[in-house]
């Protein structure tokens, strides 16, 4: 130490370009150690991180694309389903409409038939009542007329057969004369 300071003092200003060899050697050794550490440890770690990161990003992009495709597919599916449902609904509506119409038609014919039936039944009943009434009236009128005639003539008409024939003839004549009148009242 003393020696070197003495040298420095003697030289005054030493040439700064002259390397101090031990320092160069220490510098090279430290550099080599640092290089070893960086080569073995630092750079591989960093490269690994970089790689992982880029892979992560690429993976993320791939995943996002996949998700988008999936969404697209689902949308298509949904749309087609919607269209199907719409067509189905329209079909059902048409069917329902047709069915309703059919039902109305059926109802109408049924009601028509029913009413026809009721009308005809009524007519038949009316006809039956009419013929009954006519029969009753006929017998009643015959008896009355015979009673009246017997009282008028004063004699009892014994001969039943003859009497009936007379009354029937009378009534037929009567009916024949009143038929046009009855026709007009009926309508």
């Amino acid at each position: 130490m003393n020696e070197s300071t003495a040298v420095l003092a003697q030289a005054g200003q030493p040439n700064p370009l002259m390397p101090h060899l031990p320092e160069t050697i220490v510098g090279l050794i430290s550099f080599a150690i640092l290089y070893f550490v960086v080569h073995k440890y630092v750079v591989p770690r960093f490269e690994k991180i970089y790689k992982e990161r880029s892979e992560r990003i690429e993976g993320g992009i791939a995943r996002a694309e996949e998700a988008q495709a999936e969404a697209q597919r689902t949308l298509e599916q949904y749309k087609s389903q919607l269209a199907e449902a719409r067509a189905e609904a329209a079909r059902i509506r048409d069917d329902a409409r047709a069915e309703g119409q059919q039902i109305v038609e059926e109802m109408r014919t049924q009601a028509q038939a029913e009413s026809d039936r009721i009308i005809s039944q009524g007519q038949a009943q009316l006809a039956a009542q009419r013929s009954q009434i006519i029969a009753e009236l006929r017998s009643d009128l015959g008896r009355q007329a015979v009673d009246l005639a017997g009282r008028v003539v004063g004699e009892s008409l014994e001969d039943e057969a003859r009497r009936r024939g007379t009354v029937d003839r009378f009534l037929d004549e009567l009916e024949a004369t009143s038929a046009p009148a009855a026709e007009s009242t009926k309508s």
């Binding site: 070197s4 030493p14 370009l17 390397p19 160069t24 960093f46």
Partner: protein, 260 residues
């Protein structure tokens, strides 16, 4: 050097000389730069160890700092200069050069250390020698010894007549002078910056103590300016580390380059 100034005492101002970067050894031949060199690799090692202890895809603070450093070397410097797949084998060298030079430069800014290790020429010489060996070896293994010399010394498109002139010049500039300028640039910048700072600080101190009335005014100004200069030096220190690494990458890239 402060002892020198004190020895000079109240007499003539002794400007800081070249010996202000050359320290006598403390013990057994160990000098201040040696200690700083060892300290530098410890600092860098611990820094990367802390950053990469638990590496995660989403970096924390330390990891982010380390990653920015690495990214700067890899993508800003390396990608520009060395093309494609060739970069990966030389990446450790570039990272080592950058961090090593940067930390050793920034010592000039750190209080109590205050000595850029690179202002001792021995260390830049050593690193430049390594770089010189690496880029020449890279070129020779890529193109063969003769092919590499041809590649480096005769640029394409030069007329045959000028070739005798161009070839020695190119050989001089590409093979011989490169390691010299590489190391001397770093050394000279650090050395000059350190000297300028010393001139400002010691001169300011001298003016303040011995300069009379004028010195009482000029001394503090010089001291304040020295602080400004120190920050300027910080920029230079970073820039020199950047340039050193970039030139290393450039030399390697140039040696590996395919013939056009």
């Amino acid at each position: 050097m402060s002892t020198r100034v004190l020895a000079a005492g109240g007499g003539e101002f002794q400007p800081p000389g070249t010996n202000s970067v050359i320290y006598p050894p403390f013990v057994a031949g160990i000098t201040k730069p040696m200690v700083l060199l060892v300290l530098s690799i410890i600092i860098i090692g611990v820094f990367f160890w802390l950053a990469l202890r638990k590496p995660s895809l989403v970096p924390g603070k330390t990891q982010f700092a380390a990653e920015s450093t690495y990214d700067f070397v890899r993508n800003t410097i390396g990608r520009d200069m060395i093309s494609g797949k060739d970069l990966r084998p030389y990446l450790p060298l570039l990272v080592t050069v950058f961090t090593f030079v940067l930390v050793n430069n920034v010592y000039g800014f750190v209080p109590f250390l205050q000595l850029p290790t690179m202002s001792n020429p021995g260390i830049p010489y050593g690193i430049a020698l390594v770089v010189w060996l690496v880029y020449n070896a890279a070129g020779m293994s890529r193109h063969g010894a003769f092919g590499y010399l041809k590649h480096q010394t005769s640029p394409p498109g030069v007329p045959v007549g000028i070739k005798p002139l161009v070839i020695p010049l190119e050989f001089l500039s590409n093979i011989l002078v490169r390691p010299l300028t590489l190391s001397l640039r770093l050394f000279a910048n650090m050395f000059a910056g350190h000297l300028v700072l010393l001139v400002f600080i010691m001169g300011g101190e001298y003016l303040l103590l011995h300069g009379g009335v004028l010195g009482m005014v000029a001394g503090p100004v010089a001291l304040v300016l020295s602080i400004v200069l120190m920050f300027f030096e910080l920029l230079i220190q970073f820039l020199q580390a950047y340039i050193f690494t970039m030139l290393t990458a450039n030399y390697i890239g140039g040696a590996l380059e395919e013939e056009h």
